[in-house]
């Protein structure tokens, strides 16, 4: 430890011997670090938003279905348990947020247009806490209960169908006997979503109304469960799995929407690649700085060796110098990133390009997410790779013969 302080003081002094070079290098490291963290925060924010939006539409972190439902989401592939049995299984099992729903493909027809949608028969109170629809922001009103006879559709779908609140539309699907099941509904509300695709894809009716229309008694298509964190769904999954038998399939959200699941996995890999790419650009400057720093003091290195410093101490001194340079640059870069990301946490309006973004599930507002894990990853990667990059010049410095170094012109 004593020697560490001796070498650290020397390293720090040598670092500031050439102020200009050190400041230029520090600026490069700080800007590089800022770029790493800022871009990571933007990307993380975008992916998080996509996943959050995606999960809210799925919705839920864990779902149960008929084993065939995910391949064929028809009314025939319903859950074997009735609503009453589901309440008995999950009502007192300690789940904070869960709901059963009817979910089938359907066609919505106005007097002018028709569109295919996903018809959701829901109990609005059970889904209020995790629904992607903000009930209070609906034009008109949202459903008032599972027996509500009205329909709520997205604002975009209303545009497409050229309908509006108060007008009637017909919803058509098929019952378990493959007969047409249809009914006229009055549009009672228009919901708004982050993405127009969502507004165009869903129609909400009361769960009991849906069961009546489809003639499926009190059975449902899916049960959804929401935990505390979508990144850690295992506790909810295990708890749900313990309550059911093999007649139903328990799925994590990553299995229900594999695109979103893959996206989350890809995100971490992308972060690492991004950090490494930026570092590689930085490393040229870092190695050049260290090589120059060593080259311009060969005589002094020779002197230190002559006075009794061991080669390992010279090696340590150069590495400490490199680590100090990186640590200061990282600190400045981290602070810069924090200072620029924090004010943007309220969201960045990217509606100019939102149409394009929507193609892969992103919304028109981008919320940068400064994740401490990403900051640590960027810092650790830079320090570790910086350490490796500094080994070569440090090794060369420690290999000088004192007598040759002292007489070096």
């Amino acid at each position: 430890m004593h020697m560490f302080f001796v070498l650290s003081r020397l390293a720090w002094r040598y670092l500031w011997r050439n102020h200009r070079r050190t400041i230029v290098m520090l600026s490069a490291i700080a800007v590089g670090t800022w770029a790493m963290i800022f871009m990571t925060a933007l990307t993380r924010g975008m992916v998080d938003q996509m996943i959050a939006d995606g999960i809210s539409v799925i919705p839920g972190h864990v779902q149960i279905h008929n084993p065939d439902y995910l391949d064929d989401p028809s009314v025939n592939n319903r859950i074997a348990y009735t609503d009453t049995e589901l309440t008995a299984r999950f009502g007192n099992a300690g789940f904070s947020s869960w709901a059963s729903r009817v979910r089938v493909p359907a066609v919505v027809t106005s007097e002018r247009e028709s569109r295919g949608v996903t018809l959701l028969g829901i109990d609005p109170e059970a889904e209020r806490s995790f629904s992607f629809v903000d009930y209070a922001a609906v034009d008109g009103r949202f459903l008032e209960g599972p027996d509500d006879k009205g329909v709520v559709i997205g604002a975009k779908l209303a545009d497409t169908l050229e309908t509006r609140v108060g007008k009637r539309i017909v919803i058509m699907s098929q019952d378990p006997d493959n007969e047409i099941a249809d009914r006229g509904f009055r549009v009672v509300g228009l919901f708004h979503a982050e993405m127009e695709a969502t507004e165009e894809s869903y129609a909400f009716i009361g769960k009991h109304t849906a069961q009546d229309m489809l003639r499926i008694g009190d059975t449902v298509s899916e049960v959804v469960f929401v935990g505390d964190d979508y990144r850690d769904v295992e506790p909810v999954f295990d708890k749900v799995a313990a309550q059911v038998d093999d007649s139903v399939l328990v799925s994590r959200w990553t299995e229900v929407d594999t695109y979103l699941g893959t996206m989350m996995g890809m995100m971490d890999g992308f972060m690492l690649i991004w950090v490494i790419v930026i570092f590689l650009a930085l490393s040229f400057g870092l190695v050049n700085t260290l090589v120059m720093a060593v080259f311009e003091r060969i005589r002094e290195i020779g002197l230190m060796l002559a006075l009794g410093m061991k080669p390992a101490m010279i090696l340590g001194q150069i590495i400490i110098e490199s680590m100090m340079l990186l640590a200061v640059g990282l600190l400045i870069g981290d602070l810069l990133a924090w200072a620029t990301i924090k004010p943007l946490e309220g969201g960045i309006d990217i509606s100019v390009v939102a149409k394009g973004m929507e193609m892969f599930g992103a919304s028109s507002m981008l919320y940068p997410n400064l994740d401490i894990g990403d900051v640590i990853l960027a810092n650790v990667v830079v320090l570790v790779l910086g350490f490796l990059a500094s080994l070569s010049p440090a090794w060369r410095a420690s290999r000088y013969e004192p007598v040759e170094a002292i007489t070096k012109v």
């Binding site: 004593h2 020697m3 001796v6 020397l10 002094r13 040598y14 011997r17 005589r299 002094e300 002197l303 230190m304 060796l305 002559a306 006075l307 009794g308 410093m309 061991k310 080669p311 390992a312 101490m313 013969e401 004192p402 007598v403 002292i406």
Partner: protein, 230 residues
Amino acid sequence: MTAVRCIDLCKTYRQGDQDIKALDHLSVDVEKGEFVCLMSPSGGGKTTLLNAIGGLDIPDSGEIWIADERIDRMSKGQLADLRLANIGFVFQAYNLIPVLTAQENVEFVMQVQGVAAAERRAKSLAILEEVGLKGLETRRPAEMSGGQQQRVAVARAIVSRPELVLADEPTANLDSKTSAELMELFTELNEHHNTTFIIATHDQHVQSYAKRLVRMLDGRIVGDVEQHAA
């Protein structure tokens, strides 16, 4: 007691297509407490001999003993330890670490030795006063004259009381007055602390302080005489 023993040392350098014999079967003993001047024209081998004795350069053949340790077979690490513990160096130029102050330069060797901070501070201040640099402790080398820098280097070389001080042209960059002061200091240390000095020099004035003059030519000793110091 023998402080330094060199037996049949040979060292050849290649310069262009010529082999230069820097040390040519050279043998010499230096007793503890001696004040020896190595003299030779340029290229006579005195710096090579000094570097070999200090473990900075390894001879092609022959043996070098410091006290009772043979050093020509030591590893780099062992040689570093030997220099740190037993040998003080004063070079002709580029003697100081430019990023450290005068006091920090003097303390440097003691720091590497692991001497406690309070002891380092006390010793460094005392030695700087002894070499006439009181008040300049916080100056960096660039803020001092050549003579002052050389005195700092001397202070560093002797502050931990090494048994042997090797000085290569220590007065080459100094004016005659500073040069005389430096040699007085060496003489005092030699007499009061029984420190062995081996000084390589051209300077006739420096030679006058030595108790023993060793003349070299083409890597060989051609004269070795005792003399009464000035």
